[in-house]
């Protein structure tokens, strides 16, 4: 049974034209790490706050462990939240911050002591228990915020972009800590972020949102390899998927697509024929674009001119101009590439890794 069930959850703010969250439906399974991913304003934080009980629900039902909790106050929902700004009590010591929620729930003193010490130990806060938040570094404060949630032993953990206030290096290490924590506790966690790397590395499932609506839900690799539309396709992956506008010509049994001045023939075993003149978008990830024609496998070739070369050390990112196509095509190639800006070359596109999207941006399904 799902721990948290959202059934067409909607939030409309007073005097707003559009809902901030629009009929969001989602099942979060027990022990799952569900990431709500999307750009700013997509409704992910609103949804999280509705689950927490910090925002009222305009329409739809929210259930936790089978019980409808729309009207249940936040403190009775057995959830704990880690806020973006950590929201530590500035006038209390770390120890009091950790113990506060438990004291308010009339838990035995000895039990509170035990839990606080244990959590402080796990998170490396033991030496900081008597300090006040203003005397802590950003990373330490974040850990206290985390500790405050863990010590409550709630049914569901909620995270509101907890890593966004940390510097890059700390973000990476804390990400790892969070993943370890999830494995250890086996708790149900719902995590909001706009960072797709966090989503990919931490989530057991990702729920991508845009404009208040759920766009796609699935395991990270699933969503990465089978995006439901161009939005998801472009959102995941860095550099993002190349989206090349094209037109079906009708030739070769409807499998030819014209990209700029070049044409590509799709493999017939994967794709159904396309009506002549149909506008399609070809999607291919930079890692599936190479400068050499590999042996074996189906590859489409496009003549290109190198516009930009970014040497990253471990690999090289190329931006290439395809005649007739406005946007440069990004390609991820090995560090041994010798191509320079201005060089003319031929790009190979791995046909088995190609995506097709219709005029509305939705993915066209492969042939069964």
């Amino acid at each position: 049974m799902a721990v948290v069930t959202l059934d067409k959850l909607t939030k409309v703010y007073d005097r707003a034209h559009l809902p901030a969250a629009d009929a969001v439906s989602l099942d979060v399974q027990h022990g799952e790490f569900m990431v709500l991913l999307g750009p700013s304003g997509c409704g992910k934080t609103t949804t999280l706050r509705m689950i927490a009980g910090l925002e009222s629900i305009s329409a739809g039902t929210l259930s936790i462990d089978g019980r409808v909790v729309n009207q249940v106050p936040a403190k009775d929902r057995d959830i704990a939240m880690v806020f973006q700004s950590y929201a530590l009590y500035p006038h209390m010591t770390v120890k009091d911050n950790l113990a506060f929620g438990l004291k308010r729930r009339s838990i035995q003193r000895a039990e509170i002591e035990r839990r606080v010490v244990a959590v402080a130990d796990t998170l490396g806060l033991s030496g900081l228990l008597d300090r006040k938040p203003h005397a802590l570094s950003g990373g330490q404060r974040q850990r206290v915020a985390l500790g405050r949630a863990i010590v409550r032993d709630p049914k569901v953990f909620l995270f509101d972009e907890p890593l966004s206030n940390l510097d890059a290096a700390l973000r990476v290490s804390t990400r790892g800590e969070l993943a370890k924590l999830h494995r250890r506790l086996g708790a149900t966690m719902i995590y909001v972020t706009h960072d797709q790397v966090e989503a990919m590395t931490l989530g057991s499932r990702i729920c991508i949102m845009n404009g208040g609506k759920v766009v796609q839900v699935g395991a990270p690799l699933d969503v990465y390899q089978h995006p439901a539309n161009t939005f998801v396709a472009a959102f995941l992956g860095n550099p993002p998927m190349n989206l090349l506008p094209g037109r079906a010509t009708g030739e070769h049994g409807g499998l030819t697509v014209q990209i700029g001045e070049a044409t590509i023939v799709l493999p017939s075993d994967k794709w159904a024929p396309l009506p002549a003149g149909a506008a399609v978008t070809l999607g291919i990830r930079p890692e599936s674009v190479s400068e050499q024609v590999a042996n074996g496998g189906a590859f489409a070739t496009l003549p290109a001119e190198i516009a930009q070369v970014e040497l990253l050390g471990a690999e090289t990112i190329l931006a290439a101009r395809i005649p007739g196509v406005e946007r440069d095509v990004m390609a991820r190639v090995g560090a041994t590439s010798k191509l320079k800006v201005g060089a003319r070359c031929t790009l190979s596109l791995d046909l088995s890794a190609m995506h097709l999207f219709d005029a509305a941006g939705d993915a066209l399904a492969h042939k069964a």
């Binding site: 910090l54 403190k75 973006q84 700004s85 009590y89 500035p90 308010r104």
Partner: protein, 309 residues
């Protein structure tokens, strides 16, 4: 806090021995400092000097500590001190606590909060003279709203000459200043409440705090500095009070509302002895008392402790 604004090429200027633009500094400060010295510092020192003299219209006579000795035995002075300090101690407590209740009411997102805020602030804007006259009428025995209302409710027994009875005169005046300043305190507290970090209060919500819990464990501790600040401000203000008493009771009846400021005025300008030395002594002693009490208060409240988040 002060920034260093060095002229361009400061290095070379320093070599010339002109590291700071003293000319400019003096030019900017001179007008303010001149006025300060002429109308504040010098008069203060002169008052102190006066206190050791008999200062009559045409001559001055050094009398050492005679004024101070007389002051120690001056019952009226000590009565005035008692009245003023009682005023300065009760007012802040009333003003700040009522203001806190009102601020919390508005903070709870009551409709029309903006209107209430503007409306409640108005008493503070009026001159004490205007306020005094209005309340003279409000407290009027025959037709003032207070007594009229009491009589209308059948509580005519309680109707009395509020400002004329030694027992009720001072409390009645304290009520008036509270009426004035509650609005001010409320506005300040409301601003302080609105500046509290929203997420901390939400965290308290999740930590099983209802309205009471949030108030006691989160809100009050976080606005403590502002509360104490308002108490000190109110205290200082009441120690200085003059206008209101002067226009309503002038210290009557029977010194019940006499404050140090009214007493000084009377001794300096209304007593027939024309001696300015004695009132100067009162001023000097009062100055020390005010300074001592304010410093004690500040120390007790430890207002230097800042809350950083």
């Amino acid at each position: 806090m002060a920034r260093d604004v060095m002229p361009a090429g400061a290095e070379s200027l320093r070599e010339q021995g002109l590291a700071k633009p003293w000319g400019t500094i003096i030019a900017f400060l001179l007008p303010a400092l001149t006025i300060y010295v002429a109308f504040t510092a010098y008069p203060a020192l002169r008052t102190l000097w006066n206190s050791f003299h008999k200062v009559l219209p045409r001559r001055e006579e050094a009398i050492g500590l005679a004024n101070y000795i007389e002051l120690a035995r001056d019952d009226i002075f000590w009565r005035a001190v008692r009245n003023t300090i009682m005023w300065a101690c009760t007012s802040p407590l009333v003003e700040v606590s009522v203001a806190l209740v009102l601020a919390l009411a508005l903070y709870a997102k009551v409709p029309g909060a903006r209107f209430f805020r503007v409306a409640w602030f108005t008493p503070v804007l009026m001159s004490y003279i205007v306020v005094g006259i209005l309340w003279l009428w409000i407290y009027n025995y025959d037709w003032g709203p207070v007594n009229v209302a009491l009589r209308a409710l059948g509580l005519g027994y309680f109707a009395m000459p509020w400002l004329g009875d030694p027992k009720t005169a001072l409390p009645s005046l304290i009520f008036v200043t509270s009426w004035m300043w509650v609005g001010f305190n409320m506005v300040v507290l409301l601003a302080a409440l609105h500046s509290l970090p929203r997420e901390v209060i939400e965290a308290a919500e999740l930590d099983n705090c209802g309205w009471g819990g949030k108030l006691v464990f989160v809100i009050l501790p976080l606005i403590r500095a502002t509360l104490l600040n308002l108490i000190v401000l109110s205290f200082i203000g009441k120690m200085k009070i003059f206008d209101l008493v002067w226009i309503t009771t002038k210290g009557n009846p029977l010194w019940a509302t006499e404050t140090v400021s009214t007493y000084v005025y009377k001794r300096a300008f209304e007593w027939t002895t024309f001696d300015l030395g004695y009132p100067s002594t009162i001023a000097a002693v009062w100055f020390v008392i005010v300074l001592a009490t304010v410093l004690t208060l500040t120390w007790v409240f430890r207002l230097r402790e800042k809350l950083e988040y």
